[in-house]
Amino acid sequence: MIPANFNYHKATSIQEAIALSQELGEEAKYMSGGHSLLPMMKLRFATPEHIIDISKIEGLSYIKEDGDILKIGALTTQSEMEHNSLIKENYPIMGDAIWLTADPSVRNCGTIGGNIAHGDAANDQPALMLAMRATIIAEGADGKKTIPIDEFFHGFYMTALEPGDILTEIQIPKAKKGNGGAYHKVERKVGDYATAGVAVHVEIDDDGVCQEIGIGLTNVSAVPMRLERGEEVLRGKKITEDLIEQVGQIASEDCEPESDLRGSEAYKRSIVNTITKRMLNKALERAKQ
């Protein structure tokens, strides 16, 4: 499996990348970790004429808390996140997801920005971002943009990024007391894309009342999906087993999976129900710690 011919261009700054993209037009694609794009090129499902390598751009790899926000540079690799002490201690949901994403060597290359910008509902990070109410920062020819996650995923492999836009940073509300998140996916074997996955992020107050809730689903719809109807059920309420049961049911109803090698539509709906409930419980447990 060999990619078709293309021209390689290395960008050393965001500005240079954007300028290259403008110059080369729509047949140019950005590559960061390359572990989504290059396999597609080797299978010749993708045949871009130009590759703009953005992986060497300085200053886009960081994980830091800034005020009330956790900021992650788009070129931060999944491995860097996995081994980051801030994430390990305060954002266990990310550890849950990264541990189940591909394998350690792939995670050494794959970046958080690429995982999200690819717009693939099978990737794990989009569900987390939806659950955690992330904000996507991007830069394009027309300057810097701030895109709420709910407006980011547009369609099958389509996002709010315009041609030439580079996703530069992910912003997530900083973890605080009463927060808890959890992610799990059912996979056919380790490292596989999800048969179905569920990310839950919950905020409870001292009385156990749900102040905020986010639920994101992996690979059960063409577009990464937020379970809004399920969230509505829980928001402002004390979370009971009955409510969790209801939300599981809603998740199985609202997701839009298709039958494929990973299982039938009915099976996927059922496990979305199960994992939603399990992740709600796990997130609550973590929130209470």
Binding site: N5, K10, H35, K42, I51, V106, N108
Partner: protein, 163 residues
């Protein structure tokens, strides 16, 4: 198609070459440099037979453009021990019968090097997850796990001795 001049360090030696944009790093190593210890097993970054270290991190070289390795410090199976000697992992794979046909072995060892770098004393479960991107069709993994455990012990002893 324009060629690109790349310079990288491979197993301690500086290498310069002109490469096509699309040349995969694994082919650069195998075909241009004639180092054939790095293997190709799946083409889809599923099997890990092509695993090498780039700046100390394990990477599947079948899914990496040679041109992107410009400036990188690369280690392959040929470069982990001086001629006539063994890296503790090489010794352990031999001692514990961690290889049969040997085809996955270089990738498995390169991956294990980074695994022990980041986690010098892994549990069996951590080893199994740590090598989950490397497929072996012969050994059933039991003895690979034992090999990594033996190497972990020997490497930590070595470390203690040098402290």
């Amino acid at each position: 198609m324009a060629k690109h001049k790349v310079t990288m360090t491979i197993n301690g030696a500086s290498v310069s070459a002109e490469v096509d944009s699309r040349l995969l790093l694994v082919h650069f190593i195998r075909e241009n440099l004639d180092m054939t210890g790095t293997h190709i097993g799946c083409d889809t970054s599923s099997c890990g037979a092509c695993t090498i270290l780039i700046d100390g991190k394990s990477v599947k070289s079948c899914t990496y453009l040679a041109v992107r390795a410009d400036g990188a410090n690369i280690t392959t199976i040929e470069g982990i021990a001086a001629d006539g000697t063994n890296h503790p992992l090489q010794k352990a794979f031999h001692d514990q019968h961690g290889l049969h046909c040997g085809f996955c072995t270089p990738g498995m060892i390169m991956r294990s090097i980074e695994l022990l770098e980041t986690n010098p004393n892994p549990t069996e479960e951590e080893i199994r997850w740590g090598i989950s991107g490397n497929l072996c069709r012969c050994t059933g993994y039991n003895n690979i796990v034992k090999s990594v455990q033996q190497a972990a012990q020997e490497m930590s002893k070595e470390k203690e001795a040098t402290v």
